[in-house]
């Protein structure tokens, strides 16, 4: 089948809170759609077959490899990329932890690492460094900056747990009243 025989498909997506509508070739990957059609080049593309994790983004609340999803399959989905996480002036808490603990060197893997860590923080207890390393195992960092990344996640786990405990205490006090 030659390229010209195939009709373009409409795709609608909410990306970082903004609605986008485009006509795309069915074979276009979500990663290339984000980078080329929407110019959101914060999402990095490494291996392009689901091994390196660099292109990980959040689709409908779950971490997803954007090189393993067609743009047309994300029709109607809510997508969040690193561009939505914080600004240069105001980093997100996770980004701030990465900066503080030297969780990046060249930064190529960082957008995918952040998406993976954000999802792991909402889904796993991550009580031990082993669990954190397990959660990170699908993301490759060629500067071998894993130690700093593990430390950054550990700090976020502590912060998350403190917030959860505070929320629990709050609701208990609420019940007593």
């Amino acid at each position: 089948m030659s390229k010209s025989d195939i009709p373009l498909k409409p795709v609608w997506m909410l990306v970082n809170g903004e609605a986008h509508e485009r006509l795309v070739e069915p074979r276009l990957l979500l990663s290339d759609f984000l980078r080329r059609d929407l110019n959101l080049t914060g999402t990095h593309v490494g291996c392009e077959h689901g091994v390196c994790g660099a292109c990980t983004v959040i689709v409908d609340g779950d971490s997803v490899r954007s090189c393993l999803m067609l743009a047309v399959s994300a029709n109607g989905c809510e997508v969040r990329t690193v561009e939505s996480m914080g600004t240069t002036e105001q980093l997100s808490p996770l980004q701030e932890a990465f900066r503080e603990h030297h969780g990046l060197q060249c930064g190529f893997c960082t957008p995918g690492m952040l998406a993976t860590c954000a999802d792991a923080l909402q889904k796993y207890s991550l009580d031990t460094d082993e669990e954190i390393r397990d959660a990170l195992s699908g993301n490759l960092c060629r500067c071998t900056g894993y130690q700093g990344i593990v430390e950054a996640v550990r700090v976020c786990v502590t912060g998350r747990n403190a917030l959860r405990d505070a929320a629990k205490d709050g609701s208990r006090k609420e019940q007593k009243r």
Binding site: C67, L70, D119, K123
Partner: protein
């Protein structure tokens, strides 16, 4: 663009999907896409049409069966099999196994129907199908049929599915209450395909094994059951001698292939060590007694 040019449809019903699948000679079904997308990106697979069944919510369900089993819709994501309470209650071995399936981002998307249709010889869910004696229900425009897991996996990436058929449901028959279970695998890194993996189920009555199942993956062209090893276990208590005899029955005749990742001897060795380990743990879970390792 990495994949070849293909047409695309995203049907709203199983019937529509089956018609689309039958309409093109080189149509391919895509559910979560976690195995198919890399093959498309490498142009190993060159379909003319992708039938995206990723939004067929009618296939995304878990239904409890009266015999203690479960009906699992083909679009059930790995993440659900990893975390669902009903799966944990009825088949505790499944969540234990699912933690070994790739990485969180893959488990968020991957589906049970996709994994068993892809039939990688080192994938966890095909092996679970063999261990749990699953029945795989498939449908085409011509109708529905059921295939026993033992007849479903034929060769690497090859199943009993016809070109125009899709998996719609997996029926897992219930297990005896209190059955001991264990799954362990060896992979070079967390989330990699296993070099070898072993799963066992042991039903123990009054200190005697009344039913045993042993399944393996990564050591043959398809996931396999080790019926000779199961026969060794039944009617006995788990002693060191029984473990040694079971390991021999399960592993001595294995003929794993040689590839970049491991030699046949290494894979056989891994299978032996894992078999002994999972037997001890499953026994402990069935009896509440830790098996003393001598």
């Amino acid at each position: 663009m990495k994949p070849v040019a293909f047409d695309y449809c995203c049907p709203d019903s199983v019937e529509e999907a089956l018609e689309a699948l039958a309409s093109h000679e080189d149509a391919k079904l895509m559910a979560g896409g976690q195995s198919l997308m890399p093959m498309l990106n490498f142009r190993v697979v060159k379909p003319t049409l992708i039938v995206d069944i990723g939004k067929l919510i009618e296939l995304d369900y878990l239904r409890e069966l009266d015999d203690g089993g479960l009906s699992v819709g083909a679009l059930t994501r790995h993440r659900v099999m990893e975390t669902s309470n009903v799966v944990t209650r009825r088949f505790p071995i499944i969540p234990e196994t699912m933690q070994n399936v790739a990485h969180l981002a893959i488990r968020n998307r991957g589906t049970i129907g996709g994994s068993i249709s892809h039939a990688d010889p080192a994938a966890e869910l095909p092996m679970m199908m063999r261990l749990l004696d699953a029945t795989i229900v498939v449908r085409s425009v011509e109708g529905e049929r059921s295939i026993a897991a033992g007849d479903f996996f034929i060769a690497p990436l090859t199943t009993a599915l016809a070109e125009n058929e899709m998996v719609v449901r997996i029926d897992l028959p219930g297990l005896p209450i209190g059955m001991g279970w264990c799954f362990q695998e060896f992979a070079r890194r967390a989330g990699d395909f296993a070099l070898a993996a072993v799963g066992v189920l042991l039903d123990v009555q009054d200190g005697i094994i009344s039913e045993a199942r042993v399944a393996m993956m990564g050591v043959a062209d398809t996931p396999i059951r080790r019926h000779d090893a199961e026969a060794v276990l039944v009617g006995k208590s788990l002693t060191d001698d029984v473990i040694a005899a079971t390991v021999a029955a399960a592993c001595d005749s294995l003929e794993p292939s040689r590839d970049l990742h491991a030699s046949p001897d290494f894979r056989r060795h891994l299978a032996s060590v894992l078999t002994a380990r999972v037997l001890r743990t499953a026994w402990g879970r069935a009896t509440g007694v830790c098996h003393e390792q001598v």
